[in-house]
Each structure stands twice: as C-alpha cells, then as structure tokens.
C-alpha cells in the first residue's frame, strides 16, 4: 500500500502570499513523483477550481469566507473551522488509511489538531518560521497569542520539521519544543529552472551596459534582509570597479533605497527594479557577476540556492540558515554585516576570476548534491516512514473502526 499524506496549507498556487505556496507545491509534486498519494487542503482563490489535479496531486480549495469575521485573527480561526469541516467530510473515504497529516505553520493549527484527534492519524508539522523570529521577539498580546498557538501546534505534532538547524534552535528557544523532536530538512530547488536562461545577452543589456559588471540583489526590501548595508557599500565598490547594482524586490525600504542612492551620488549605477516576473528573475541570476546576500536574519535563505543553481558567485553574511548552506572561500565569500566588509567581498569576486569560478562551481555542486527536490523529498519520506512505524507500533492510539 502506498503512503498517503494530507497537506494543510493556507496558501497554494495560484494563491501565493509568501514562500509557503511554492514550498508546499514543489514538495507535494515531488512526493507524488515518488509514488505517494498526496492531498492538499488549502484555501480558495478567485478563478481557481474547488478541486484540481495538479500533476497527480489532489488539491481541494475550501471556501474561506463561509463565516463572517470581525478581524484577521478571527478570520483565521473561522477559516480553520471551514478547513476542518471540509476535510472531515471529504477525506474520510477518499484517502487511504493510515495517512500522515502534514501541516505548514500556525495558520492551519486548529484544523490540523482537530483532524489529528478525530481521525487518530499522526500529525507532522513544518515550522517555516516563528512569530518570535519574524518580529524579533514577542512584544504584545497579539504576538503572544500567535506564539502560543505555534507552541500548541508543535506540542501536538509527532515530529516537527524545520528547514535549518538555525530554525530548529529558534523553535526550541521560542516554543520550548524539545530538540529531539525536531528533524531538519532543508528547502529544495529545481536546478533546471535556473540553468537555461532565455536569451541572456539581450536580458543583460536591459539591466547593465556591456562594460559594467552586474551586481545582483534579490529579496524583500526590508531591514532583516540587509539591503541598506549593500546600498551603503556601493560608493566604495565603484571606486575600484565599474559595476551596475541591480536591486530586485519590494518592501518598505524601497523609497529609502531610491533616495539614498541619489544622496550617495550612485543613482546612475543602481537599478531598483521592484518585482520582476519569474522567468526574467531566473535568467537574471545567470548573467550576474556577483550575487550579494547581506541578510541579518534568514530562517533558510532560498535565494542562495537559486543563485548557486544559476552559477552566480555569492557574497553573503551567512546569517541564520545560510551558514548551513555556504561556507567561506569554498562556496561563497563570507562578509561581516557592514558596508566595508560587503565592499571588500564584492571586489574580491569582481577582481579575481579564479576565485569566482571556484566558489560558484562548488556552490553549484553543493546544491546539486544536497538541495535538489528529489533529495529533499526522500528525506521527507524518511520522516513519514519513521512516524508511521511508530504509529503502527502504538497499541492504544488508533481509530475505533
């Protein structure tokens, strides 16, 4: 009998709020390729069908506005009611027993916990981030409520999955989840999405002149991503290299970045693009001479995998989870989170082709060997099988019939 899993996620393409949608989508498809029966229960989206077969993955979209709700947290609560009501009716007979319930983040906590007890099936939870980490601490009762729901969800989970050891420690610290209950499985990447750029010469010419080296930043323009450190480093880099700084992404620092490059007199050497479509973005990595990742906080650091897949040499602060992917002078140039150090690192790569080729080759190999979705799916299945073996061996906690 094949392994069955029911994914619970509040986002799944085309409903995309953050990084969860892509993660759940790619993981589900890869698990399906490995022969698992995969069901995804998620929320509705205008124009998306209530039920859909996505490359063998059965997707159910639940009406998330079935109940009126006075505010966001109440909406989340009532959306969970809709999820559990829908799943209890539609999954009972259509999913092979036993099955794994795999929940992603606190937004589906109530539904996941109720379904676990109603069906008496094992619950696995991926904590992609924590309220504590997202907010740099817990400062008010609203955040305390979310942290408390996260802790409850982690307590109910048979196993908790995090994407890095860094996140495992954060979950341990913030939610008091014992480390022996946490499995670290990194995020995956589809290398092939980044290895065949569409018309790279033409693309490059849209962002930089032929004589300019292309320095790329991709990420939300927010404090924890450290984009302000890169901006402050631009004048120093330009003293020793002719370069164009391409800054991709949106965020509350966008206007600050635009103003600051004028103040620094480097506006003509900086291109703040905003959001780019996925095809352009994927190709852009492969024409970059250096990719800069100046993050101050990073649960995992998926853009490191994307840049490495495309063969861009990486300069990074190696904050949080990145330190587990990249290492100094092997797969990246590691810098301190300061403009001086970032300028030094970027110039190292720009002035030393041998070094650039060496680190990008190593980084590419590392991603291929450790972070392909195929590898990640295998490691996820190993956790499922481990949990199911324990579940089968448990004499008491079984459904009545």
């Amino acid at each position: 009998m094949s392994l069955s899993v029911v994914m619970l996620s509040w986002e799944f393409p085309p409903r995309i709020v953050g990084g969860l949608a892509a993660h759940v989508h790619d993981l589900s498809i890869e698990l399906r390729k490995k022969g698992l029966e995969v069901h995804v229960v998620t929320l509705d989206f205008p124009g998306a069908p209530d039920r859909e077969d996505v490359r063998g993955v059965k997707v159910y979209r639940v009406d998330s506005y079935k109940y009126a709700a006075p505010d966001f947290a109440s909406w989340i609560a009532m959306m969970n009611v809709s999820l559990m009501n829908y799943a209890s009716e539609n999954l009972k007979d259509s999913v092979n027993h036993p099955f794994i319930i795999h929940a992603h983040d606190w937004l589906v906590a109530h539904a996941a916990i109720a379904l676990k007890h109603i069906f008496r099936m094992p619950l696995i939870v991926t904590m992609h981030s924590t309220e504590y980490g997202r907010r740099g601490g817990i400062h008010d009762d609203y955040q305390r409520m979310i942290a408390s729901i996260e802790a409850w969800l982690a307590r109910e989970a048979w196993r908790v999955i995090t994407c890095s050891r860094y996140m495992a420690e954060e979950v341990n610290r913030a939610l008091a989840t014992p480390l022996d209950k946490i499995d670290v499985i990194p995020n995956g990447v589809y290398l092939e999405n980044f290895t065949s750029p569409v018309n790279p010469a033409e693309l490059r010419s849209r962002f930089a002149a032929p004589h300019e080296r292309l320095v790329l930043y991709v990420g939300r323009l927010v404090y924890e991503k450290g984009v302000h450190l890169l901006v402050e480093a631009i004048p120093q880099i330009l003293q020793q290299a002719d370069a164009k700084f391409v800054i991709v992404g949106e965020g509350y620092l966008k206007e600050w970045v635009r103003r600051r490059v004028y103040e620094l007199g480097v506006a003509d050497k900086t291109y703040v693009t905003g959001f780019l479509d996925i095809k352009t973005l994927r190709s852009l990595y492969s024409v970059a001479d250096v990719f800069v990742m100046p993050s101050l906080y990073e649960p995992f650091g998926i853009v490191a995998l994307e840049a490495a897949s495309a063969g861009a040499p990486i300069v990074s602060t190696c904050a949080g989870g990145i330190a587990e992917i990249l290492s100094h002078m092997e797969t990246c140039v590691k810098v301190y989170p300061s403009p001086d150090s970032i300028a030094w690192g970027v110039l190292q790569v720009l002035h030393n082709r041998g070094l650039a080729d060496y680190i990008r080759g190593n980084a590419r190999a590392r991603v291929e060997n450790h972070y392909s979705w195929e590898r990640i799916a295998d490691r996820t299945i190993a956790v499922y099988e481990h949990v199911l073996r324990e579940y089968e061996a448990h004499p008491e906690w079984k459904p009545r019939r």
């Binding site: 009126a68 006075p70 947290a73 109440s74 009611v81 209890s88 109603i118 609203y142 409520m145």
Partner: protein, 202 residues
Amino acid sequence: MRVVFLTWEYPPRVVGELSWLIQSQVERLRRRGLRIELVTISDTGYYVEEPAHGLRVTRVSSPSSPHSSLITWIVSINTEVARVVADLYHSGTEELVLHSHDWHFAPASTTLKRSLKIPWLASIYSLEQHRSLNPNSPLSSCIRTIEWHMVRDCDAVHVNSDWMRSEVRNILSFDGDVRVLDASSDIWEEEMLKLYRVLVRS
C-alpha cells in the same frame, strides 16, 4: 447510548440562565437512566469529575492564550472539544449522540458529525439577534453565521417554544424542521429520550 452535552456554561461556571437550565435537564434525564458525558469550559485548567451516577463532567480550557477576540478563544476550545469527544468515540464502542446548547460548540459538532457520523441535536435558547446590543456588529455577524450554519448542519433543531421556533425560522431564514419540546412539561424527559433514540437509529 451516551449523550454528549456540549455547553459553554455549567455550574459553577455561570454566565446566565443557561447554566441552571442545563443542570436541571441533566438531572432529569440522568434519573431516567440516561448516561451523560457533559463537556464544558473551565477558566482555571482542565479537570474531569463524576458528581453523580451516570454523569461525567469534563471541563476543558483553551490550550492557547491570550486571545484577541471571543472568536479565537471559542475556536481554540472547539478544537479541544473535538479532541475530547473524538477520544470518547475511539475508546469505546457505544453509540454517541451530540447535544449542543446554543452556538458555542457548533463548529466542533459539525466536524464530529461529518467525520465520525455522530448524530447531532442542536438546542437553541436564544439567538445572537436577541442577545446583542448591536446585532449588525462584525462580531455578532460572525456568531450569526455560525448559528446559520448550525441549523443547517445538525440533524435536528430543538427549541422550547413556538415563539422560538418562528424566531429561528425568520432570523436564520431556515425552513427546515424545528422541534418544540417545552422543558416545563411532564413528558419532556420521555420526548427527549425518544428523540435521542430516533437520532441514533437514523
């Protein structure tokens, strides 16, 4: 057969009249030999007691706190209620009937009915429209939609008077069956037991 009473108030947790009303119902049915599992809320932690023969009271608390609204609180407790009733269901072979009182545990009841096929009787003593000072506020609207789905999701709706029946029909635009059983009548216990038996058989 065991009947699972779901109520957000039961002595000593007294919010309004409902608490005493349910206590007297429990007492009358228990004397007729009915076995009752009563699940209610405790504000001060989780505990189980058997105060009389045939009655077990399980008090559950929200596993998460604080809460930003009445809704986040009641949904957390609904999740706990689902767990407690599911544990009852899975640990025995007896038939269960859910008997919810007002709207508070309608979400858990819908889930339990749909997944475990436990028949569900919903008693309504008052509606949000009657209780709320501002029935069109976002909070009251949320509760009204919970009531709206409750009368449609359950197997039988019960009220105490013809007046309440017409209120349920008008306010919740409900044209399904509403049973009127007046708790002050002498045959109330008999009729209630009959109703439970019909629900179990259906």
